[in-house]
């Protein structure tokens, strides 16, 4: 299988969404809205739920299941208010010592006039800054596309997992090909050298876990993958909750501090 085949599966309209996982893995999801500053961004969903009897905060970047929902969700491309809503809910989780579970599925942060006027860069930056020192566990799962800074804003976490056919990259293979070779049609070739698949990123040490999908993709047997997500959370949430807030933050700092290769 070529890397671009994963890209195609990750982008399928039938791909299970953040809300699919939230509804399957947790009980009694209460959605909370708004960033308290400007608006409620429908591309980001978040709120409270139960996981095995513990209260948790769950947040996802939500793509639509059809055109109408995609328009409502802005095709899973968040505005600054989406990232600020996510941060508000994470700070709330920190206050009440609830673990945070994020489901990431976005081609990237929205690129538009309003997004720039309201500080898309600042919104993402502030999330990276605050998540790096949040005193409660954060687990992020890339379930489809993990598009650049727009994904990282919800994935500066203690554990980052990817579904087998999801992809996580600094930009889309099309964008990469067009910047590097001025030819977006060379996306398949770009995907191969970019190292964007779950397997590649596991080997690079960027993620901790690859979650299996049935052949063809998670939409074919959603319960199979969703149950695996749930089982993994069952062990990981208590393990992270057992750490002191200081240990947690220090380990998270080290996790990101270690990325990079250079000669000196």
């Amino acid at each position: 299988m070529k890397a671009y085949d994963n890209v195609k599966i990750a982008r399928q309209l039938a791909r299970p969404t953040a809300l699919d996982f939230i509804n399957h893995c947790f009980e009694g999801f209460t959605e909370l809205h708004g960033d308290r500053l400007f608006a409620d961004d429908n591309a980001v969903v978040g709120g409270l739920a139960w996981f095995e009897g513990i209260p948790v905060t769950v947040i996802g970047i939500q793509k639509g299941k059809d055109t109408a929902e995609n328009i409502k969700r802005n095709f899973g491309c968040a505005h600054p208010e989406g990232y600020r809503k996510a941060l508000r809910l994470m700070k709330q989780a920190e206050k009440f010592r609830r673990p945070v579970i994020c489901f990431v599925n976005t081609s990237g942060a929205y690129c538009g006039v309003g997004a720039e006027e309201r500080g898309q860069g600042e919104a993402i930056a502030k999330n990276l800054f605050e998540l790096s020192r949040l005193k409660t566990p954060i687990i992020s799962i890339i379930i489809g596309e993990g598009g650049s800074g727009g994904a990282l804003a919800l994935a500066t976490a203690d554990r980052v997992w990817m579904l087998e056919n999801s992809v996580y990259a600094v930009l889309s293979p099309e964008g990469f090909a067009s910047i590097l070779w001025k030819d977006s049609s060379r996306a398949e070739e770009a995907a191969d050298i970019m190292k964007i698949t779950a397997k590649d990123l596991y080997e690079l040490g960027v993620i901790e876990k690859v979650i299996d999908e049935v052949p063809g993709g998670a939409h074919i047997d959603f319960e199979f993958t969703a149950n695996l997500v749930k089982h993994n959370l069952e062990t990981e949430i208590p393990a992270l909750m057992a750490l002191s807030p200081e240990e947690l933050v220090e380990q998270r700092y080290k996790r990101f501090r270690g990325f990079g290769e250079y000669n000196e």
Binding site: G112, E117, L171, I196, V206, Y253, G260, N263, E264
Partner: protein
């Protein structure tokens, strides 16, 4: 902390009017890593550049110490060493990690050659120069990005040098001043370059938690992953007049909205108007302003000293 045990402190070399993408060089000065009489050396050089503002040929003498077009007021882009030269007190700069150079984490084709070529052309090892210095007598850690080095894209070296700069500042209770400039992520380092956004932001957060002052100075152009990480995290955010500052590229946005954007979109002034920049400071006033801001936080009567 033994963070700097491997670094070699090299003297600051002066390299005014080094070759860059946006200005035409008739004759460049090649004088890296020497600190011999810098003033005299620039006197000798016969250099002129074509201004991107008015299109006129401007000589080095006309552009002056701050590299500003005398005809139209356009700011020429400064290299990292030029920036430090006009900011740090004479002789006060000590470079950190001067020898650090890019590896090739993804095994990207021709990346080593590209880096070697850029190092030769620019005289710097990667897109940021960091170190410590005094500014108007105020001690600080300084970083300056250099848009002539692969558009100051952020890869492992930029991320690592900045993270170490923050950590040094934490260990020595110093403020940090970073002159940002960037086209975004270092494509050739893929996901590893993306991770530098979290790494630098986490280091900035740690420095902040330790009570440190971080002043971010946004220079032309500051975009992409650098805007979406440490550049927007200063306690105080300064911008140079007319600097391009934004997240997404203009063409990307125009492609999304199918409209032309106004000329003043994503300028320093636009960012100030929308609440993302504290002050716009002219290049010739920058050093004094930085010194004053540091003094307000660390000076006599209020800080460590």
């Amino acid at each position: 902390m033994a963070l700097f045990n491997k670094s070699k402190y090299l003297p600051l070399g002066l390299n005014i009017f080094r070759k860059k993408d946006d200005i035409v060089i008739n004759k460049a000065v090649e004088s890296h890593e020497t600190e011999a009489d810098e003033e005299a050396k620039t006197e000798e050089a016969v250099v002129s550049v074509k201004c991107r503002g008015c299109g006129k040929e401007i000589t080095k003498t006309e552009a002056g110490r701050y590299k500003i077009c005398p005809r139209c007021g356009k700011y020429f882009r400064l290299g990292a060493r030029e920036r430090i030269y006009i900011t740090a007190d004479r002789g006060s700069f000590t470079e950190f990690d001067a020898g650090m150079s890019a590896a090739n984490p993804l095994g990207f084709p021709d990346y080593e050659e590209k880096i070697a070529d850029m190092q030769k052309k620019t005289g710097i090892k990667d897109a940021v120069v960091t170190g410590k210095c005094t500014i108007g007598g105020q001690e600080c850690v300084i970083g300056a990005m250099d848009s002539s080095f692969i558009m100051a894209s952020m890869g492992s070296v930029v991320g690592e040098k900045l993270a170490r700069a923050f950590e040094y500042a934490i260990a020595h209770k110093l403020p940090v001043v970073i002159f940002a400039a960037s086209g975004g992520a270092r494509m050739q380092e893929g996901i590893i370059s993306l991770m530098q956004m979290s790494k630098t932001s986490a280091a900035a957060a740690k420095h902040s938690d330790a009570g440190g002052l971080y002043i971010s100075v946004l220079t032309d152009p500051t975009t992409g992953g650098v805007t979406a990480s440490f550049a927007m995290l200063g306690d105080i955010i300064i911008a140079e007049p007319k600097a391009l500052v934004g997240f997404a590229g203009r063409r990307v946005i125009e492609g999304t909205i199918k409209q032309k954007l106004p000329d003043d979109f994503q300028t320093a002034e636009f960012q100030l108007e929308h609440g993302f920049v504290d002050i716009i400071v002219k290049r010739e006033d920058m050093k004094d302003k930085l010194a004053e801001l540091i003094r307000l936080h660390y000076g006599k009567g209020g800080g460590e000293q």
